[in-house]
């Protein structure tokens, strides 16, 4: 039941493990406010990274990162702006990342640092 949700959950878990292993300190997962949702918010040293995780079972419908289109980018940016305001993080350098996860025979991860900017 609800396999696509499970797929997503699994991917986010994989990404989370990957990030902690890389030394990121995770602040929030599945952060949600009235504008939208950001999958992971984490500090990479002193840079605040807003990370969108995309999981795909195959390439039949294109690569995962392609689905983060400009509309989605705007949504993530606005959500994170609100997060920044709420937590008063005005003097922090921000970055937007995309992580794609392919959980097939072997789980593979692609991390795009600074995947887009405003």
């Amino acid at each position: 039941m609800n396999t696509h949700i499970n797929t997503g959950k699994f991917g986010e878990q994989v990404a989370l493990n990957y990030l902690t292993e890389k030394g990121y300190s995770v602040l929030e997962t599945n952060y949600r406010n009235k504008i939208g949702e950001v999958d992971i918010i984490a500090y990479d040293n002193d840079i605040l990274a807003f990370i969108e995780v995309k999981t795909r079972m195959g390439n039949d419908y294109g690569y995962a990162y392609e689905s983060v289109n400009s509309r989605k980018q705007k949504k993530i940016a606005n959500t994170s702006l609100m997060y920044i305001q709420k937590n008063k993080l005005y003097d922090v350098q921000v970055r937007f990342d995309v992580i794609e996860v392919y959980p097939m025979e072997k789980v593979s991860i692609n991390h795009f640092e600074n995947a887009f900017s405003l």
Binding site: L81, D91, V94, S117, L118
Partner: protein, 508 residues
């Protein structure tokens, strides 16, 4: 996290310094350019970002604001890429400890970090020198045209990495100086007046017109050598002086027509096709670009088959012929370009071409002929100093082995006449007889009493206009100069009048 470097924008031939301020601050990653940039500059964002990355540097992750000051001046052109990239690298701390105060950066970046050549590099460098800049960093491809400018350091760079090494003092690039400024022009030996058999009258008129930079109209049947002779005019004109060739090179530089050459050494010869539009001739566009009249500056503008041009195109020539410059106004800019050229035109006397030809029968009706000639208005004819009619070549002339006057000989007598004029106008802003104003005509074109008699009767009989009267005096002055004679004699005046009697024959 702030930096300021200088670059240049052109308005016509004049350059203005633009300060490129770059500020890096923390926050959302963003890259904005403000200060009235046009499309080419807005696009430079992507070029700069990729070029910095592909040159092995990190593009700073921060909020980047670029300001182009003064903010009220509209900026266009791709030459700002290098200044923006340099500003970002300096603000990011990749380049340290050097002064940008007296340096200007010009150059377009390609995605791999190479610096591409730009249009208008020479006029920019010249303006920057006048504005007190002592070092210009320019694209490698523009080094030959810019290297002729002395007392400014010209630093040619091939790519962004080289620029960074130069600025941080790791491997300093030496200032480039072109070695060949003032050597002689190379004439095209393919076009020599000795190829033209017979037609001595035509060659004489060309010599006179070249000697005084007078405008020339050639009327004659097809195949009589009009075009052939006109193509050979550049070969008898004197060399461009250094100042003149800089003026010409500036115009060609902003038009992007300079190609590989450094200085334009040959006098330009422009022969636009008769389908050309008024804008192509005068110049224009959203930001006006020089047209044919400016590209022919200090050279020759040749209109073959004059009546085939659109009438409106011919009439736009009136003002540049008179003033020596064109002022073009558009919504976005209002610019002046120099257009001091020698106008040479050729035409047939009627649509079929044989009106007045002793060997052929003209098949045109009078109506046809009138309409054809009517395309050339009197105001335009008035501005052409010399009118000459050529007749078909005779077989005996074509087949002769007798040497005819060569370009070399003609150039020698032209140079002598030009030398005399240069001496005469020493201290004035004019160089040739055709540029004389009323004051100069009064001073230098005095007639003897007998000449005055001739002038008076010719004036009454041929009903000259005031302008024609002045033109005749100027041409007579040139004829006297060709003769190395101090005063204008009767024969000079008579020859000059004879060059103005043709319009009565055809235009009545």
């Amino acid at each position: 996290m702030y930096s300021k470097v200088k670059t240049c924008v052109l308005q016509g031939l004049d350059g203005h310094i633009v300060d490129v301020e770059v500020d890096l601050s923390r926050g959302m990653p963003m890259f904005t350019i403000v200060g009235l940039p046009d499309a080419a500059i807005k696009e430079s964002k992507e070029r700069v970002r990729t070029a910095i990355r592909n040159s092995g540097f990190e593009f700073p992750l921060s909020r980047i604001t670029v300001n182009l000051a003064p903010a009220n001046l509209k900026k266009d052109g791709s030459q700002m890429d290098m200044a923006i990239a340099a500003g970002i690298l300096i603000a990011d701390g990749k380049i340290q400890e050097f002064s940008t105060e007296d340096k200007a950066f010009l150059g377009e970046l390609s995605l791999d970090g190479t610096v591409n050549p730009i249009d208008g590099a020479l006029p920019m460098v010249i303006s920057l020198r006048e504005l007190g800049i002592s070092q210009c960093i320019i694209p490698y491809g523009n080094k030959d045209e810019c290297g002729i400018i002395e007392d400014v350091e010209i630093i040619p760079v091939k790519d962004l990495a080289e620029l960074v090494d130069h600025l941080s003092g790791e491997s300093v690039i030496r200032s480039y100086v072109s070695d060949d400024h003032n050597d002689a022009s190379v004439y095209n030996p393919l076009y020599d007046f000795s190829d033209i058999k017979g037609q001595e009258g035509l060659k004489r008129a060309m010599e006179v017109s070249a000697a005084g930079a007078h405008n020339l109209l050639i009327v004659g049947p097809p195949g009589s050598g009009k075009t052939m002779a006109a193509r050979r005019i550049p070969g008898i004109l004197p060399h461009l002086s250094f100042e003149e060739s800089i003026e010409v090179t500036k115009i060609y530089s902003i038009s992007g027509l300079l190609g590989k050459s450094r200085l334009m050494k040959e006098r330009p010869f422009r022969a636009p096709h008769h389908s050309s539009s008024g804008v192509a001739i005068i110049g224009g566009g959203r930001i006006p670009k020089p047209g044919e009249v400016s590209l022919a500056h200090n050279g020759v503008l040749f209109f073959d088959e004059l009546p085939e041009f659109q009438k409106s195109v011919l009439e736009v020539l009136r003002q540049p012929l008179e003033d020596g410059f064109v002022h073009i106004s558009r919504a976005n800019a209002s610019l002046s370009y120099p257009s001091d050229f020698m106008f040479v035109a050729s035409m047939n006397p009627c649509p079929c071409g044989y009106y007045g030809d002793p060997l052929h029968q003209c098949t045109c009706s009078q109506n046809h002929i009138d309409r054809y000639l009517g395309k050339i208005s009197h105001p335009l004819l008035d501005r052409i100093d010399l009118h000459i009619e050529v007749l078909p070549v005779k077989y005996e002339e074509l087949n002769t082995d007798l040497p005819s006057k060569s370009s070399d000989e003609m150039r020698k007598s032209v140079s002598v006449a030009r030398e005399i004029q240069k001496e005469r106008f020493e201290g004035l802003t004019i160089y040739t007889n055709s540029q004389m104003g009323n004051k100069e005509i009064k001073k230098f074109c005095k007639l003897t009493t007998s000449s005055e008699q001739i002038m008076k009767s010719a004036f009454d009989k041929l009903r000259f206009s005031g302008r024609t009267y002045n033109k005749i005096l100027k041409v007579a002055r040139t004829l006297a100069d060709l003769n190395k004679s101090e005063n204008i004699d009767d024969k000079h005046l008579l020859e000059a009048i004879q060059y103005r009697s043709l319009d009565k024959k055809y235009w009545g």
